[in-house]
């Protein structure tokens, strides 16, 4: 008997999940679309900010995100486990996502938005964006390895796994 109830409950839960997914796909068509395999992903880039959701006003975003104006849409939701607030943004005019190499090199279409999200998180959490330059250093002898590293360092604030 209890087994039958369990089965019914599982079926009901599965059915409810399907309904929720279908509703979400109507509200947000990209949510039902799998990423990869030639498909565009939903395009959301996200950071988790250690503040309450009420402390992020999407109508008054930090400057790095505000500069995008209506070229982006923004989503805010509570992070599970007391980890703060998930702040996500995506370009309204989305192109196909860049390759992993392009993303890591900060050369994809979302590179500026990725950097803006990181800076916005710092402004909300710390109140300033951490800078490293001008950094004291000695003679930068010109070498192929040095040039490669300089290029990667320049790109690193915009580069990322996603």
């Amino acid at each position: 008997m209890s087994s039958s109830i369990g089965t019914l409950a599982a079926l009901a839960a599965r059915g409810a999940g399907t309904v929720v997914r279908q509703v979400r796909s109507i509200v947000n068509p990209s949510a039902a679309r799998p990423a990869g395999a030639g498909q565009t992903s939903s395009g959301w880039l996200a950071v988790t900010v250690f503040v309450e959701p009420s402390e992020i006003d999407t109508a008054k975003l930090p400057p790095p995100l505000a500069e995008f104006g209506d070229r982006i849409e923004v989503r805010v939701q509570i992070a599970p486990g007391g980890k703060g607030t998930e702040l996500a943004a995506r370009l309204r005019d989305r192109q196909r996502p860049g390759s992993a190499a392009a993303r890591l090199a900060g050369k994809d279409a979302e590179a500026d938005l990725r950097s803006a999200l990181r800076r916005a998180k710092q402004l909300i959490e710390v109140g300033e964006v951490l800078a490293v330059d001008p950094v004291p250093h000695g003679d930068r002898t010109a070498t192929p390895g040095g040039a490669l590293l300089e290029g990667w360092t320049t790109a690193a604030p915009k580069g990322g796994v996603r």
Binding site: F50, G106, V135, G138, L149, P157
Partner: protein
């Protein structure tokens, strides 16, 4: 100002660099009193972490006096004597608030590099490559310290500069290993590596109540330091079979906690070392995990292995079967020093943690290349070369 810089693989220089300036409101400028070499610097020196540029200032373990404060700094004033943790961490993100300071979301201005290597970015570290932020290091008369209210700690009166220096990195790294490995009263703890970090991990384990602590190395002078200044037992891996000795010491069980404080350039007397060395030199693996393998094999069933030595990337012949079948807990971390340094300074002021013996060779900055050479080759019993910029 003069600074000790990385010039190329196995090439250390002393050259003129500009003085640092306040860039962010939470910065201080520190007049460096003492700055230590660290075993992890040798990985940079040898080119095993290929994210250094010629001219980068080395050094991440240091103390000194506050010379200038940013307008957002509230805890420090000019003239304060402080020790600075080697990691740059904001103190505001979820990781910092959880006490996992080296995982700070905001402390590394070059997050794309470590995301590429490890999937996520961690905090930054002074003088430790562009992958960890590109910050200038401390082997210089002055250094910029970001997030100073979080990362600089007043040194209690009565604690010498030479002792406080190692509250910057070696001691908190050791504390991180022992605490995160959850050393408990009654545990038998084995530590691979009798350098500064290994010695401090052993001392931390003892203060956390371990029943017996044994440190493994091959250098007599370092093992002697362990016995004299730390109070732990020692084993020389060139003279005995380490897993067999550890079994004998523990009634056949193996140590409850095994802390690896060696890192990516481990040595061993066997064929295994040759294999790892060849693979590393051919860039078929980035790190030599010899000591980690031994720790995993030696650890008791259900025990904990902690990788405290620095590893950069990929290793070969990793005994995952032993990890799984022996139900081991495998953990690792850079140091979460912000949470341990106040406690360490208290221990130091009570004479429960002594570190002056680590600074075997104190010298002026001009002798930077010689200091690193001595440190690398363990010349004249060098455990740590320490630079005194004011000398």
């Amino acid at each position: 100002m003069k600074a000790v810089t990385w010039r190329g693989v196995n090439e250390i220089g002393v050259e003129d660099v500009p003085e640092p300036t306040i860039i962010n409101d939470h910065d201080i400028i520190l007049e460096v009193g003492l700055s230590a070499t660290c075993g992890s610097d040798l990985h940079l020196m040898g080119g095993y972490i290929p994210a250094m540029r010629a001219g980068d200032v080395l050094g991440h373990e240091f103390m000194g006096r506050v010379a200038e404060v940013g307008r957002g700094v509230t805890k420090h004033k000019v003239g304060d004597r402080v020790v600075v943790v080697s990691f740059t961490s904001c103190g505001q993100c979820w990781y910092c608030r959880e006490g996992l300071w080296s995982l700070c979301d905001n402390g590394n201005p070059n997050p794309g590099m470590t995301e590429a290597l490890w999937g996520q970015s961690i905090g930054g570290c002074y003088g430790y490559s562009h992958a960890l932020g590109g910050y200038a290091g401390s082997h210089a008369p002055y250094i910029r310290v970001p997030y100073a209210d979080q990362g600089a700690f007043p040194i209690p009166d009565g604690v010498s500069d030479e002792r406080a220096l190692f509250a910057s990195d070696a001691a908190p790294t050791g504390w991180t290993g022992a605490h995160q490995a959850e050393v408990r009263p009654g545990d038998v703890v084995a530590v691979w590596g009798a350098g500064g970090v290994g010695q401090m991990a052993a001392r931390a384990a003892m203060l956390m109540g371990a029943e017996r602590v044994v440190v493994i190395d091959r250098f007599d002078n370092r093992l002697q330091q362990v016995r004299t200044h730390i109070g732990a037992d020692t084993l020389d891996y060139e003279r005995t079979d380490i897993p067999a000795e550890l079994r004998e010491m523990t009634g056949g069980r193996g140590p409850d906690v095994c802390i690896e404080a060696v890192g990516m350039e481990a040595h061993s007397p066997g064929v295994q070392f040759l294999y790892d060395q060849v693979k590393q030199q051919m860039r078929l693996q980035t790190d030599r995990p010899t000591a980690v393998r031994e720790a995993i094999y030696a650890c008791r069933k259900g025990g904990t292995v902690f990788t405290l030595g620095v590893f950069a990337g990929l290793v070969d012949k990793f005994p995952l079967g032993a990890v799984m079948n022996k139900a081991l807990t495998l953990r690792g971390a850079q140091q979460h020093g912000h949470r341990y340094i106040p406690e360490i300074l208290e221990h130091m002021s009570r004479d429960e943690v002594r570190t002056e013996h680590l600074a075997t060779h104190v010298m002026p900055l001009d002798e930077g290349p010689k200091g690193y050479q001595m440190f690398k080759n363990k010349e004249d019993g060098c455990v740590r070369a320490v630079f005194r910029p004011g000398a």
